[in-house]
């Protein structure tokens, strides 16, 4: 079931809330059990068989966690083996559903074999659930999680606000909240939850989804080998970047809001990533919980392992002015590329996702390299952020947007074609109708080589307008975390000591004007739930 559906907003959600508060007034345990069962129902809605797939996996993980906990101190060897088995089991589980077809296709591509590409239906949210279970086993093994019951574990894994699209949560940050949860109605939590949920719904349906109507035909054209031209190439690039930005931002807000209805604060997962001044900062703002997982469970252990090996061999470590190219390559470049390779593969089973991940790995490595070089050529650079923040922002924004083409394009060839469009490799053209309206400016454009084409001028203008408006919102306005900072919208979020005037002016409060304003936003979201879409008018 999707958050942005009638059946969820007007069906399941009210029923779950009434049941939760109703049962909670009698016994807390009943309310939590109700929440677990409701989450299971939420998960089963799309394909009931999903429950049969995910339930054994949950039970096996719980059993492994129990064994790891029992042997962790007394028999560390077997405990470690159990952890490895658990991780392998989860990766195989994910791999079977998500990567079987891709791997068979890759084998066919490389070896010219003819393996059958059977489509395997992916259980919903399997990537998120798998990472969450792996993190749980690792935390149990490390002693960060000690006491847990089946009910606790089931609620942790299945809690529906974060079940399908994250954030990827840790047991140790969720269970204390579940244990302290008040099952009585809390007006503040409800008000904050409503605000987060409907702001997220509007972001998703009013801002992100209409952009798909602009972007999808452009990528379809590129997929058919058609050159888009400079202007449409940039609309496709920026348009998709903004579409996925508001889509993910909206979904994350909805998840935060839904959890808050039950008094639960989920961790920060999305914090205006397009405002980042570096690619490293981008990943501290974009899908924060994934970055946290990858850093903690892949990058750090790998980096540490390699550092120990180098030190044991008497080679130089990493950091500071003495960093060598070899140590940089071994201790930073290699783990970063591997981590981002996994990140790409996690996002989707396809070559384009892998290339996207590797591109980000390369960009992060360059960013780290620049920091090292900067320290040498520009020592004591306290004024550095002030001087280069604008450049860093522009570089990051363009890099992220250009890489997003690979994320969206159906093939590497289509992505490369759009990249060619971005630099005018396929010529610079504008719609004939648009040029006709530009008057004398059209002659100037013609003089510098701009040619007319037969595409629709109104569609191009619509695309540019949408990109402009969404860009202004993404870059110019405060985000939901800032607007609701006084009410801790996500775990650990507090108001900053010094905020720009716009953020101060936009602070949420339970006032009449906010209630009416939020009602308008909510109405826009609800009205956008069920657009009548039968077929597209024939294209001119």
């Amino acid at each position: 079931m999707l958050f942005n559906s009638y059946e969820f907003i007007f069906g399941l959600l009210p029923v779950v809330l009434i049941g939760f508060y109703g049962l909670g007034a009698r016994r807390r345990e009943w309310a939590l059990l109700w929440l677990t069962l409701a989450s299971l129902f939420f998960y089963a809605w799309w394909r009931p068989i999903n429950v049969l797939l995910i339930a054994p996996s949950i039970l096996i993980n719980l059993g492994l966690a129990r064994l790891i906990e029992r042997y962790r101190e007394t028999r560390p060897g077997p405990a470690r083996l159990l952890l490895i088995c658990g991780i392998a089991f989860n990766l195989c589980f994910l791999g079977y559903f998500k990567y079987t077809m891709f791997l068979r296709g890759a084998v066919n591509d490389v070896f010219g074999t003819d393996l059958v590409l059977t489509h395997i239906i992916l259980p919903l949210g399997i990537s998120f659930i798998t990472f969450q279970k792996i993190a749980f086993l690792a935390d149990v093994h490390a002693g960060r999680v000690t006491a847990f019951t089946f009910r606790d574990y089931a609620l942790f894994v299945l809690f529906f606000p974060q079940l399908i699209a994250g954030p990827i949560v840790h047991y140790r940050e969720m269970m204390p909240q579940f244990r302290a949860i008040s099952t009585r109605f809390n007006a503040e939590d409800a008000a904050v939850g409503v605000t987060l949920f409907f702001m997220g719904l509007a972001k998703k349906l009013v801002l992100a989804d209409p952009m798909a109507l602009v972007v999808a035909p452009l990528y379809a054209r590129a997929a058919h080998g058609e050159a888009l031209g400079l202007a449409d190439g940039w609309i496709a690039t920026l348009g998709f970047t903004l579409q996925i930005y508001f889509d993910f931002s909206g979904y994350t807000d909805m998840a935060l809001g839904l959890a808050r209805f039950f008094g639960i604060k989920l961790p920060v997962n999305f914090n205006s990533p397009l405002k980042a001044a570096s690619i490293i900062e981008f990943w501290q703002r974009w899908h924060v919980s994934l970055t946290r997982f990858l850093t903690a469970y892949i990058y750090n252990p790998l980096s540490l392992h390699l550092a120990r090996k180098r030190m044991a061999a008497g080679k130089a470590g990493f950091g500071g002015r003495d960093t060598t190219v070899a140590s940089f390559s071994t201790l930073l470049l290699l783990p970063t590329m591997l981590t981002m390779f996994i990140s790409g593969l996690w996002h989707g089973a396809g070559y384009t996702y892998i290339v996207w991940g590797l591109m980000h790995g390369a960009m992060i490595s360059v960013n780290h390299g620049w920091r090292l070089i900067r320290a040498r050529i520009w020592p004591g650079a306290k004024d550095h952020p002030r001087l280069l923040a604008g450049t860093g922002f522009a570089l990051t924004f363009v890099s992220v947007a250009v890489a997003m083409v690979m994320f969206r394009a159906p093939t590497i060839r289509a992505a490369a074609s759009i990249w060619g469009d971005l630099v005018g490799a396929h010529g610079v053209t504008l719609p004939e109708g648009l040029l006709a309206r530009l008057g004398v400016a059209a002659h100037w454009l013609h003089a510098i080589g701009v040619q007319p084409d037969a595409s629709s001028g109104s569609q191009m203008l619509e695309g540019l307008l949408r990109v402009g408006v969404l860009l202004a919102i993404a870059l110019g306005l405060p985000n939901t975390l800032q607007i609701l900072a006084r009410y801790e919208p996500a775990l650990g979020v507090r108001p900053a000591k010094q905020e720009p005037w716009l953020v101060r002016a936009a602070q949420w409060s339970p006032s009449g004007s906010w209630a009416v304003g939020l009602a308008a936003v909510s109405a826009a979201g609800i009205l956008s739930l069920g657009q009548l879409s039968e077929f597209l008018y024939w294209q001119f």
Binding site: A191, A519, S522, A523, L527, L532, F535
Partner: protein, 413 residues
């Protein structure tokens, strides 16, 4: 906080109710049987992307004696209010639906029009490319769920549920709100406003708008490119095709349906501009078009009934060989075509006159087994003359290059 929540909920309900009331009153998709009010909701531009929805309910209210069936060409160019229609055949409803395929628009809509109770005559505007590749299997989407009868002729059990769904989505969606606002704003838009009249006839506002902005050459260029992109697919399909042309079975089913219910059926192979015909000729598809005409004549012969007739307007006549204005010309308008596929209402009117009044006698011809071979030869001769002139014209780069007199006698009729 409780006050905030109450105020939010009250404001939300009030806003949604206001929107629903406004949308229901403006009725942007013609779902409800409200009257139109001049200066408020006289034109219905919101039907642009919801023609199938609007027409499914319009036709029930219209209860036509004659129905026009077809794709966007019928939708745009055939006037249900034309004076040409015989009095006994009125009221006429134009069920032409853009963006659909032959299987959807012809048989389904014939059934739906018949189910309204008094259908006596059906006029189907046929598209040549629709017979060059088979339609995909029909899907059971909302378009079918709105109809009185399912494809197999049984009553549709989902119809009322679909109506409720359409009514809900027509009043409580952002798209409906935007379309309602457009409807109100469009009251002074003149011919640039798309309208779907209660008799199903639409204005060609979109073409007029693009022709003004970009010129008719742009319209022709775009459609030529689209046609060119399809010919390879047609060739591939037809290379291994045996028997009657693709989708002929749909027409055979329609003829049976009409014969059993005493409905007269007129099949009209609609006019194409020479640009499109030349693309097919150069792609080697012309023999298939000739075969299509033979198949149509055979269908008529097999029906053994005067109530089933077929007409052919695919020819190189003065109406179909107008010279396209040069690139950048945003002033010159063609008289008969918007682009190579979509003919204008004026030409639709000529076609109706030819079928129902017999004039002009030199454009279009009935298709029968006795005449079809001569007809094909006649059009082939026209084609040779036109192609020869065009080649010569392009070689000589004449500034004011007009078709030869035999073809290009000004269409002043």
């Amino acid at each position: 906080m409780p006050r905030f929540l109450l105020l939010w909920a009250a404001a939300l309900v009030a806003m949604l109710a206001l929107v629903a009331g406004f949308n229901a009153a403006i009725n942007p998709y013609e779902l409800f049987a409200w009257q139109r009010f001049p200066g408020i909701n006289e034109y219905k531009p919101g039907t642009r992307n919801h023609v199938a929805l609007a027409k499914a309910y319009q036709v029930e209210r219209a209860r036509p004696v004659t129905v026009i069936l077809g794709t966007s060409r019928a939708y745009l160019a055939m006037d249900a209010a034309s004076p040409v229609w015989p009095e006994a055949d009125r009221p006429v409803y134009n069920y032409g639906t853009p963006g659909s395929n032959m299987s959807e628009v012809l048989f389904r809509e014939l059934q739906q029009a018949w189910a309204t109770g008094r259908l006596r005559h059906a006029v189907a505007i046929l598209d040549v490319p629709a017979f060059l590749t088979p339609d995909p299997p029909l899907s059971r989407g909302p378009d079918e769920k709105r109809l009185r009868l399912l494809d197999d002729g049984t009553p549709n059990p989902d119809r009322h549920a679909q109506y409720l769904s359409d009514a809900f989505l027509s009043v409580l969606t952002m798209g409906a709100l935007v379309d309602s606002v457009h409807t109100v704003l469009a009251r002074h838009g003149g011919d640039t406003v798309l309208d779907l009249r209660p008799d199903g006839t639409a204005t060609a506002a979109d073409f007029i708008d693009v022709a003004r902005a970009e010129g008719m050459n742009a319209l022709f260029t775009q459609k030529d490119q689209y046609d060119l992109s399809r010919v390879a697919g047609f060739r591939r399909v037809l290379a291994d095709w045996h028997g009657p042309m693709p989708n002929i079975g749909i027409l055979r089913g329609m003829i049976q349906f009409c014969l059993q219910r005493n409905i007269s059926l007129t099949l009209m192979l609609g006019a194409s501009h020479a640009d499109q015909m030349e693309i097919y000729r150069q792609a080697g598809l012309w023999p298939y078009i000739e075969k299509l005409k033979v198949d149509l004549a055979q269908l008529v012969a097999d029906a053994h009934s005067d109530s089933i007739t077929a007409w052919d307007f695919v020819e190189y006549a003065p109406y179909t060989t107008e010279t396209v204005p040069p690139q950048g010309d945003r002033v010159t308008r063609l008289r008969w075509f918007w682009e190579p596929v979509h003919f204008q209402r004026a030409l639709g009117e000529i076609m109706l006159q030819r079928v129902f009044l017999g004039t002009p006698a030199d454009f279009g011809a009935p298709l029968t087994l006795a005449t079809v071979d001569a007809r094909n030869q006649f059009v082939l001769d026209q084609q040779r003359a036109y192609s020869g002139w065009r080649l010569a014209c392009e070689d000589n780069r004449q500034e004011r290059c007009k078709p030869p007199a035999a073809i290009a006698a000004e269409a002043s009729r």
